[in-house]
Every structure is written in structure tokens, then in C-alpha cells.
Symmetry: C2
Subunit: 435 residues, 2 copies
């Protein structure tokens, strides 16, 4: 069993000498310690950082000052997190423990004096894509999303016969994965309305977001080998928020018979901070509870530990802000709130299934959950579902309504784990403005 355990780094009584990390509702307390890549103000050299409160700690500087164990120096000094992701989990955990010791409020004052110069305000730095994405795979793990979408396109047959047996996924485009804040250019492509005789080429009119959770992988397996279910979390480095922007009109015309292609590959946005699997240890929950008539997972996707603790109780939210709302001083409005626990398949099951044919997973690969939708209407994770294909437009406080995204709309995702007796772990934001 390689799932991280709750240990001293989750102790809710510990605070940080970085005061902003101790504010109620802070995304990045000392129990979180997410990693990312940033460029300092006025620099173009990317560096590994750890978010703490409203600050970022420069890990390359920390390594340069001899404050990290030797085994971590190379990974901490690299321009991407790929080297960190390639480390064995035991070494990734040693980095977390070290950062926790350096940043806790009762760290010796000489330690605080040594570390403090390596902090910068996060508002002064530029977040970058955390890793060079080798391959990007998008799953379809929410049974609510699959059922909703299926019932629009195949009313008599919403959920296909394979869905409850096999984690459905497809290869996505790695080159167009970008960090939060990247502007969303409306893609052009072929579309054909049912009433049209022939398709035409032009800008998408049905631009949508998809609220997803990403899984950064490492160290991975070699070609021809596979990852057993109880070994899978050795390879789950951390999580992020993912917006898998989608052009529904392109998708409808192109996706038969080989799946989505250009409807998705124009942009995929990820939040900049990799919340480590270790940080989420206190928020593990049982795998999705299947209905009485549902099949049990096949043995290669099944273990007692996965069944009891394979889920993660991560809440994700989607917000919308239109140009008119910003002009009128109206705050972004929440469109949906869902949870990763609604996923029919656990992250470990997705990793194990992906490698089960001998496919090699690599450090820096990104898996995504597919749209996170839950059973209620306000937990539907995309406009296609929320507006039921445009039939039920969303009314906004600015007096506008939306079926799909308009230019000037900004979509903002947030994510967090909360449970009583535990310090809240936040994911920051994943943003994108449609231009």
C-alpha cells in the first residue's frame, strides 16, 4: 500500500512563522506546502517554489544555502517539476517533512532568519506550468456527467454498457496544456447544425468549460510493465484543477468514430500549484459506493485499501464573471460545486488501468478526471449539462443570461479539502478569460 499516511506534517495545532499562512480560509497553510514553478519579478528563469500563505519560497535558493538534503538538490534546482516528480515517493515525502520543519512557527529563530530571504510575495511572481507534460490523458470518471451527456446524445441509451466495467479515457493534446491565466482564444473549426446540408468552417459558437481535477504523475513504469492497484499511489505526485475547454459544436461533428480531437486541443488550463498527495492524506474517503446492481471492479482494479480509502474528498467549484458583471462591480457567481468523491473510479484505478496494457507512464504525465459532476443540478461541472445543451439558460445577477461562454467571460475554478479537526487545504485558482 503506497497511499500516504497521516503524520506529524498534518498536525492541526502547528502554525507557521509566515503569518499569512495562518489566516482562516488560507489556501496554503503549513500543512499544505504545494509545489510549483514561478518566475521572479523581472526574471525569465523559472524556479521551483513552495506556496506558503501569500508567499512563495524559492527552493533553488534553499538548496543553494544547503538547507535541503542532497538527494533533493537537483530536483529543487530544476526549471520544471519533472525531476521532482521522477523522485520516489519516499524522497518526495522527505521534501515535505523538511519544508514543514523549516516553516513551522516554532522553528528556531536562526532557521527563520536563514529562510526568510528566500520568500517572495506571490503577487510579485509569475506562475508557470508546473512540468513539461509528456502525455495528457483525460478520463470520464463521473458517472453523473457520463449519464447526463449520454442522455442528451443517446436518450434511449445514456450510459454505454462498458461504462461501469472499465475506466473510459482518451489521449488528449499535451502541447496545448497551459497554466491558469492563459487567455482563451475561441477556436475555429468545422461545424454542422442538424438543419444544415453541409458543414461550414468558422468560430465555435458553443464554447464551454469542463471542471476537472488533474493528477500529476511520477515516477512511472517502463514500457511493458504495469502498476498494481496497491502500488498506484507511489505514482500519484499531486493534484491540481483542470479546465478542459471544449467547443461543443466542433465536438459534435468530429467525434465519431475516434473521439474528441480539435474540440479540446486548442487549450487546457491547469492551476499552478501541485497539491501533493501527501497533503491530502487526512481527506481520504471510501471509493464511490456502487449501486446494488452494479458490477464489482475486476480484480486488477480492486483492493481492500482502494475500496476503503481510494477516494479523496476534494470540493471543486466553478465561478463565472462576465465583462458586464465586472463593470457593475458584481462578484463572480458560482455555477457549480462538486466533489471528487462523486467519481465512479478512484485515481489509483485510473493509474492502474492506464498502465495495465504495458503503456509506460512518465514523470510529468497529466491525467484528468473528466468533468466532475454530482447528482444534484448545482453540481454539474460544465455549461452543456447546466443549461441542458442551451435549453435552460443561466440567469446572471447582471441581467444577462448564458447558454455557452461569450467573449469577456472569465471562468474561475476553486478547490479545497475541509473536514472537522483538520486544517483546510486549498488549491488556489484556475482562471481563463475568453477573448
Amino acid at each position: 500500500m503506497t497511499r500516504p499516511a497521516v503524520d506529524a506534517t498534518h498536525d492541526p495545532s502547528v502554525t507557521s512563522w509566515v503569518e499569512s499562512a495562518n489566516q482562516p480560509g488560507a489556501d496554503f497553510p503549513v500543512q499544505n506546502l504545494p509545489l510549483g514553478i514561478f518566475t521572479p519579478a523581472g526574471s525569465t528563469s523559472p524556479r521551483v517554489g513552495c506556496a506558503i500563505g501569500d508567499q512563495v519560497l524559492d527552493l533553488a535558493a534553499l538548496a543553494g544555502a544547503g538547507l535541503l538534503p542532497e538527494i533533493l538538490v537537483e530536483a529543487a534546482s530544476a526549471p520544471t517539476l519533472n525531476a521532482y516528480m521522477a523522485l520516489r515517493a519516499v524522497h518526495r515525502r522527505s521534501l515535505r517533512s523538511r519544508l514543514f520543519e523549516l516553516l513551522r512557527a516554532d522553528a528556531p529563530s536562526e532557521v527563520q532568519e536563514q529562510v526568510a530571504p528566500f520568500l517572495s510575495s506571490r503577487s510579485d511572481v509569475e506562475p508557470q506550468l508546473p512540468a513539461t507534460v509528456g502525455d495528457y490523458t483525460d478520463f470520464y470518471a463521473s458517472v453523473y456527467h457520463a449519464t447526463n451527456v449520454g442522455s442528451m446524445f443517446r436518450p434511449n441509451n445514456p450510459l454505454l454498457p462498458n461504462y461501469k466495467h472499465i475506466p473510459i479515457g482518451y489521449h488528449g493534446r499535451a502541447s496545448s496544456v497551459r497554466v491558469s491565466g492563459t487567455k482563451v482564444r475561441r477556436p475555429s473549426g468545422q461545424t454542422k447544425a442538424d438543419s444544415d446540408e453541409a458543414p461550414s468552417f468558422g468560430p465555435s459558437r458553443l464554447l464551454d468549460y469542463e471542471l476537472e481535477v488533474g493528477f500529476w504523475l511520477g515516477p512511472g513504469n517502463s514500457l511493458g510493465s504495469n502498476i498494481a492497484i496497491d502500488e498506484a499511489e507511489e505514482h500519484l505526485v499531486g493534484l491540481c484543477l483542470v479546465n478542459d475547454w471544449s467547443a461543443r459544436d466542433l465536438q459534435k461533428w468530429e467525434y465519431q468514430p475516434l473521439g474528441p480531437f480539435l474540440a479540446k486541443s486548442f487549450l487546457t488550463s491547469v492551476s499552478p500549484w501541485v497539491v501533493t498527495n501527501e497533503a491530502l492524506a487526512p481527506f481520504r474517503v471510501a471509493a464511490f459506493e456502487r449501486d446494488a446492481g452494479d458490477p464489482q471492479p475486476l480484480p486488477y482494479l480492486s483492493s481492500k485499501d482502494n475500496h476503503q480509502h481510494g477516494g479523496i474528498d476534494l470540493t471543486v467549484e466553478a465561478y463565472l464573471s462576465t465583462a458586464a458583471m465586472r463593470q457593475q462591480g458584481i462578484e463572480p457567481v458560482r455555477l457549480s460545486r462538486g466533489s471528487l468523491r462523486y467519481l465512479y473510479w478512484t485515481p489509483a484505478q485510473m493509474i492502474t488501468h492506464h498502465s495495465s496494457n504495458g503503456c509506460n507512464l512518465q514523470a510529468g504525465d497529466l491525467l484528468a478526471s473528466g468533468t466532475v459532476s454530482g447528482p444534484e443540478k448545482d453540481s454539474r461541472g460544465c455549461l452543456l449539462e447546466l443549461t441542458w445543451r442551451g435549453a435552460e439558460p443561466i440567469e446572471l445577477p447582471s441581467g444577462e443570461s448564458r447558454k455557452f461562454l461569450q467573449s469577456g467571460d472569465e471562468v474561475i475554478f476553486k478547490g479545497y479539502c475541509e473536514s472537522s479537526g483538520r486544517v483546510r487545504i486549498g488549491f488556489g485558482e484556475c482562471r481563463g478569460l475568453v477573448v
Copy 2:
């Protein structure tokens, strides 16, 4: 128009001072000059090479000796072809011209003496994957293949309504692209026969090859921009043979609704030598001739030059050798022979379509044609089609028969361009032994 022109480097009267390049039927005459990556005997350092006859020329050594223009030195000295692929076409062409001048039979004897030490026998070196594959995209460009496969799975509706309007493709797995000669491990996965109640997990029983042609790309476009049809060939660096190994039983169960996934991602094999787009200039042909009732390509996929010269008359062949055949001294038997000219879409149309939504293509991306099947039975490019899903087994000279691949089977692809008055351009081989 960025399509390479026929020039002095295609002069059929020129021979090479490397005698083996002048043999009739040689794959690599001085008019070819394909590039690849190799490791010399006893070394693990990959180097850029050019195949000439039965030799390989070490381009890093050539650069080190000052025999290449300055602009090419970095690309020639790199451990992959990515830097070469990132060069503008004009510089890629200057490398071809330079190699042609150095290797032609009437090169000054002092040039020959300078260059000769940088040649090694190809049988002494180890070919490597030509480039780090950023993204791998597989198209479905043979209308014969699409019709054959469609008529097996959807007898009433073999060719979907979008096929003749839009180049169908999907994202493949980049991490499992390997060089020719990599052994093929039979993948395991979920399968479900029509007669089974539930799926089971185990080794694929319907292992197949797919005879495809690959397109190595560079320099590519930035995210949000696109590549116009008459600019597309600036980004077509060269071609190779591709075997998109497929597990048909996994594919059947998993592919709805998001397309092929683990049925393909266990291995994709490519031939080691990148035959440049320049080398193929004499073999350009008109784009596929559409039937009278077929739609014209939409304007973004259409140009006079593409219509008249967008096709490439590249013949591809698949051979099979079983363990018993090798034991009995029987030569590999040819299973099919097809041509890239049977593709419904040209390489330029695939490149332009792929970037039409703003998706960024990058140096080192690999596109593949999809299975190259033609109108005749002996031009069907995979066993699924050749044996009509196993209903018509292939009889082999060893007394065996095959519906799908067995352990010990070796699949060998060959490719070449031939036309009267032109020197034959060969692609070498793409091999894989099933273990």
C-alpha cells in the same frame, strides 16, 4: 507554396563515391539522404546520422570538422532530430544540398578523404528513435480502410456522414512510440465477447498490425495561430513507416464513446530513417480523386497546388514471417501492398486541419496517416481487413494460417517511391517481433 521543388539534388545521373549507394534497388542512394539517430558500436551516445548505401554518415563529426554551415552545427550535433526539425525549411534544404555535394561521386578527392572517416557500416550501429515525440496524432485518412472497418462494425452505415468533409484523427500516446526492432509484448486488457455476460481481464487474443505512414513535423505554429494549406509543407520535415499495433478485442470493448485508448498505447513502431519531404519531390501526384458525388474540401483545406500536387506516390508493403517459416527457411511473405496516394486527405490537409483550431504543432510531433488500405483486397493494410475479422484466415507457405498475430510472428514494413526516369527512394524497414 512551400512544397519542395525538384532540383539538382534529384538529378538521376548523379552517383555516389559510397559504392553501395549505387546498387540497383538500394534504399539510400545519394538522391535520398534520410536522417536519423544512431549509437555507434560500443557507445551509448546518440548521434545524428545520414544513411547512404549500407553506411551511415556521422553528422556531428562532419560539423566538428567544419564541413557544415554554421546554422546547421547545433542541429547536427544534438542527440535527437528535434533541433533539426525545428529549423526552417530553407535550412533543412541547405543540409540536403551540402550532403549531396559531399557524397556525390565527382566530389573532389580531398573532400572524399575528409568525409570517409565519418562513415560507419549501418550493420555496426544501433538505430534509435529519431526524435523525442511531443505529441502523436493518428489520422484515419484511407477511405478504403474506413469503409472496410465501418462495414464490419456498422453494416448499414459503414462510412459516417462526417468522413468526406473532415479529416478524422485522434490523439495517440507519445510515450510508447519506439524505433523499429522493439519487441512487441502482447498487451493485457479488458475484453468481452458478445456471448459473455461480463468482461474479463487477460492477454489480447486479437493482436493486429496497422500499416501506416508517419509525418515528422517542424517547426510548427504557436498556440492560437494556424497553418494555411499552402504553408503546410514548410512544417512537413519528412516521412517514415509506422506500425500502429492494435489489440482488436480491447479496442472493441473500450472505444465507445471516446475512441481508441489502451488498444493502441502499448506500442507504436517507427522506421529509423526520416525520408525528407525534399527527397520525395519527384514523386508528387495529384490529391485523391473524389467521386462525382463527393463534397469538395472546404476552402481552408483547399488550394490549387494541393489539388494538383498534394499527394505522394509512396508504395508501402507489409510482410509476415512466422517462427515456423524461419525454421523452414521460408522468406517473409507479402500480405499487402498499398500506396499513400489512396489517402482521401493529403499530408498538407492533415497538418492544416490539425492547426485550424489554434492547436500548436511542434518540432518532433508525429502524425500518422491511419491504416493505408487501397481498393483491392491485397492492398488492405491490417489483418482485421485482410481476414475480414478472422472470417477468412490467411494461408501461409509453411502450412500455417493466421487470423491475427501469434507469438513468434514478425511483421516487416517496407516503403519506396519509384517512377521512370527517377532514382528509387527507399524507406528501409519497420520491424516488430511479437513475444
